[in-house]
Symmetry: C2
Subunit: 152 residues, 2 copies
């Protein structure tokens, strides 16, 4: 989803799942784009490194400030952005290190949905028109399926 919505790269942490890494790699090879996926055991170091390079860290949490009130400010900073999405209980240090703690509604729901809406708001919907050059491409249809393959 991050790829389809305009993100450049995703870094996973926590328990390593090689199946996920492989399946995203395969998806990028089939569907195109320059999306990267990686694994990092030490997420704290990764966040600190990113901050040293003057990037902005945005942590998505239901406890944060409304996305609709902060997104223009974040967009206007014109900096590289790292979006942090935690599963389960997120350590306090993440709230402290983040430049923004942002809520996509203050209601419990899915991290995937929160990230999708954040990216959608950040790119002002333009990510929906993004095209990818891959081996496989879909031609949008009113009904049915049309997949074009560029492989011989």
């Amino acid at each position: 989803m991050s790829r389809a919505f305009g993100a450049k790269k995703i870094t996973l942490s926590g328990e390593r799942d090689d199946d996920v890494l492989a399946s995203v790699g395969k998806l990028v090879s089939n569907w195109g784009g320059s999306f990267g996926i990686g694994y990092e055991e030490n997420w704290l170091e990764k966040i600190e490194e990113f901050k040293k390079k003057k990037g902005i860290v945005v942590h998505l949490t239901m406890y944060g400030e409304p996305v609709q009130k902060q997104i223009t400010k974040i967009r206007k900073m014109k900096k590289n952005i790292m979006v942090v999405v935690g599963a389960g209980k997120v350590p306090t240090i993440v709230y402290q290190l983040s430049d923004f703690n942002i809520a996509v509604t203050n209601q419990p729901h899915s991290e995937v949905a929160a990230l999708a809406i954040f990216l959608h708001e950040f790119f002002e919907g333009k990510e929906l028109d993004k095209t990818f050059k891959g081996k496989l491409m879909i031609v949008p249809k009113k009904m049915g399926k049309c997949v074009v393959s560029s492989e011989k």
Copy 2:
């Protein structure tokens, strides 16, 4: 997520999972709103019934027409809407019965993200300002967590 984003009701089909039904019920009881969740074995009948009542069926599929090109038309119809989201391979009949086959990008990604963006576009972002009266409420914070409980 459907609840947080302004949907009124969700009906699950396929393999019945009572844990999901119970956990959404508990969430609604804690966090408020009039969201309903149900299970329906015969999804086809459910779709047909809804159509008979002049509702509009929108099927979310990566093969469909771009959401950004159709959403205004759908919104302007001012009808009740059933959004159909399939897991895995979706039977052809769903494409045929649906008034709209809609793609949130023609790229493979998450059904949850597709539904979130569809609702966000449909409600023009206003769903983010929706408030719920529940036992628990979050007060948005720049940092940290603030949950208010109305229970004594």
